[in-house]
Amino acid sequence: MSLKIVVLAKQVPDTRNVGPDAMTEQGTINRAALPAVFNPEDLNALEQALRLKDQFPGSTISVVTMGLPKSAEVIREALYRGADEGFVVTDRVLGGADTLATSYTLAQAIKKVGNYDIILCGRQAIDGDTAQVGPQIAQKLGLTQVTYAEEILSLDESARKVVIRRLIDGGVETVEAPLPLVVTVNGSAAPCRPRNAKRVMKYKKATAVAERAPEQAEAYAALIAVKPFMDIPQWGAADIEADPNQIGKAGSPTNVKAVKNIVFKAKESRTLTASDADVEGLIKELLEEKIIG
């Protein structure tokens, strides 16, 4: 038996190694200083998918991303690493979505992919750290879920059950869950395998419509006629039959009321140097006042 696996991936600004240039002088995010990357835990999810595919030959991995047109980059990256196909969900009307509108949109896209056995995604994305989209998709699709997964230990095709090790607060547990299922994968899971050079050669020129210059349309059409895999299917809100009231800003119950820069009220602080006298003086003072010791 083979499995139909869906992996959700998000392109995110790399907030992990934020340097001093990450903020503008006005206190806003300097996006130019933060490269867009494959959300790290989504890569852990992709690896779990690839392992299932290794184990059940003939399985297919479909990657779905929602974002700006350039988020097709994560689809290519997934194709390089072994995914079979990918879909970019992009549309102006999807902008301003909170987690609930995002999960609705992705759930609609997953329905369009169809016939899924298992849906894998990262536990959370590093640009928001909310960990909400996976469970919200599960609820919307009427599926159960296993969050904080570390490893898919086994999958029984005939019983349609999967055994997963997951993190819990202060420990780990092993659970058995039925397919179809949503699994969110934790960063402590196995890292994703690297790109495969042959697959990079095959897919490096694959594009989504939104990435192509209009004057190249004909050239692309000719290319795709011969090599259909050069087209990364792109879906708008209409393609996934999205209810306009449940997407974008309109479908988002949360509103940002205020964003403020924080200016810490400076305490009366004492500034010392690294000299022996200064450091020893501080230690003596803290000891005398019984703050330490």
Binding site: G128, A131, G171, E173, I283
Partner: protein
């Protein structure tokens, strides 16, 4: 109806600290709104559980006691909360930003089409005028969910005036656990679990489960020596462990240091890690993004060791030592040893 609800997490038959902290916060919110505080306790063999929560000012405990409700699995708990909320129509629901709260909260929000704000650092009630979908209205007594947002020194206030319940998750240690009245008595409602959880919802089986006590004592350590990305390496963190050992303290870290692999993730201090309030906080090579500061700003004495005199953390420090951590930390160890007799 329209009360403040807290979903209580239960380990075995004990309500977890994070939930008791939220009850204390929920009590204050309920007072401001002039409504009742209710909570949900769902597990197995929890007769008398109300005694654990009443002292925090709970007016009504919804008890769901049945086989299969402990250990926690998603569907039965989601099902009972969703069905209870259909009857009770709470205006606010608070949950721990724990593995359980983060597993359950999003399902409730998806089922009720309500907003959920993760990892809040403050919650308050406010009235304001706001334009939503082009319509300007005055909204009274809304829950303002405050959280540091991506990118550094900004704090966002999130509201969801058009949807109920207003939901928020909060990490352990962020709110203060305060007994309101040891003799406080509320109402206990024992629900028929089968009415709320169809048999078909018990789909996930827990085969094996290991819970260990925390590996470190960071939460209650009187002295915390914390390192940031500026520590430069895992090896340099050894100096911090040595200093912490001398001071009888614990080692913490900023997220940047954790992401760089300098130290284990269970030592993370900040919005998405632990919140600590030690007597002394020694920040070594930590620049002090708001996400970090929100997890340590209530510390008694803050000492910042940094070679950047402009590091934001210096603004909240009582002592700033301008210098390289490699130079200063060994000196702190040396002079502590020399002077502590």
């Amino acid at each position: 109806m329209n009360n403040v609800f807290v979903y209580c997490e239960i380990e075995g038959t004990t309500v977890k600290d994070v939930s008791l902290e939220l009850l204390s916060k929920g009590r204050k919110l309920a007072n401001t709104l002039g409504v009742k505080l209710e909570c949900i306790c769902a597990a197995s063999g929890i007769d008398g559980i109300e005694k654990q929560v009443f002292p925090y000012g709970v007016d009504k405990v919804h008890v769901f006691d049945a086989e299969g409700l402990f250990p926690y699995t998603t569907n039965p708990h989601a099902s009972l909360v969703i069905n209870l909320f259909k009857e009770e129509q709470p205006q606010i629901c608070l949950m721990g930003a724990t593995v359980i709260g983060r597993d359950l909260g999003p399902r409730i929000s998806a089922a009720t089409h309500s907003g959920l704000t993760a990892d809040c650092t403050e919650l308050e009630i406010d009235s304001f005028e706001m334009s939503i979908g082009g319509v300007k209205k005055y909204y009274e007594n809304q829950l303002c969910q405050i959280r540091p947002a991506f990118g550094g020194n900004i704090v966002a206030t999130i509201v969801n005036p058009e949807h109920r319940p207003q939901m928020a998750t909060v990490r352990e240690g962020v709110m203060k656990k305060e007994i309101l009245d040891p003799n406080y008595k509320g109402e206990v409602v024992k629900h028929d679990v089968a009415k709320y959880v169809p048999e078909a919802e018990y789909v996930v089986k827990v085969l094996e489960r290991h819970v260990e006590a925390a590996k470190n004592n960071l939460k209650s350590a009187p002295i915390v020596v914390a390192g940031g990305y500026g520590m430069g390496s895992k090896e340099n963190f050894d100096m911090l462990f040595e200093l912490a050992k001398e001071l009888h303290g614990e080692v913490g870290a900023s997220r940047a240091a954790i992401d760089a692999g300098f130290v284990d993730h269970d030592r993370q201090i900040g919005q998405t890690g632990l919140t600590v309030r030690p007597k002394v906080y020694i920040a070594c090579g930590i620049s002090g993004q708001i996400q970090h500061i929100s997890g340590m700003q209530d510390s008694g004495i803050i000492i910042s060791v940094n070679n950047d005199p402009e590091a934001p953390i210096n603004a909240i420090a009582d002592y700033v030592i301008n210098g390289n951590v490699e130079e200063v930390v060994p000196k702190l160890i040396k002079y502590y040893k020399a002077n502590n007799k």
